[in-house]
Amino acid sequence: DVKVTQSSRYLVKRTGEKVFLECVQDMDHENMFWYRQDPGLGLRLIYFSYDVKMKEKGDIPEGYSVSREKKERFSLILESASTNQTSMYLCASSSGGIIYEQYFGPGTRLTVT
């Protein structure tokens, strides 16, 4: 059974803190993605990676960075958390080439106070 796991389901951080969100997939997928989901806006792509140490900006990369040191792990970093980054964060992975299907993790609900 394919699996994408995220390090936390719920996270509460203070403004200005550095926040790490971890995502691990066990499907040997080349591509990994980070989205944020806000009511009425659907999912918006923050960053994606198509190979180890490779990364590409998505639609809303400002305020975020990513790291992919190993194929199975993709980290999202909030260098200095702000209240407008309170959101649901979803990680996904897919096999290489044209995307036919993405597999999603359960999500991390981050609250920045």
Binding site: G42, L43, Y100, E101, Q102
Partner: protein, 112 residues
Amino acid sequence: SQQGEEDPQALSIQEGENATMNCSYKTSINNLQWYRQNSGRGLVHLILIRSNEREKHSGRLRVTLDTSKKSSSLLITASRAADTASYFCATIGTDSWGKLQFGAGTQVVVTP
């Protein structure tokens, strides 16, 4: 940017009824996908339809695609309470490698 837009935003039906939701998009696509999200959880892939296909079935799901109108519909037949979820369409553009563009979703509530 948001590519797909679902309509309606919310839908409430009774068990046994059919649920239909629509998706419109803006640019040429390689394929269109539908996902389901149960409350507070990750998304689950339901079905994919390629740009050269017009209709596809999977169990109680039926998807249509009209590329001339840049629109798609998802029909869930004989709905069940377990179908209560949000449904999202997502597209892959012909010029946007591998990136899915999601709509805002349709929230479906099926009452017993």
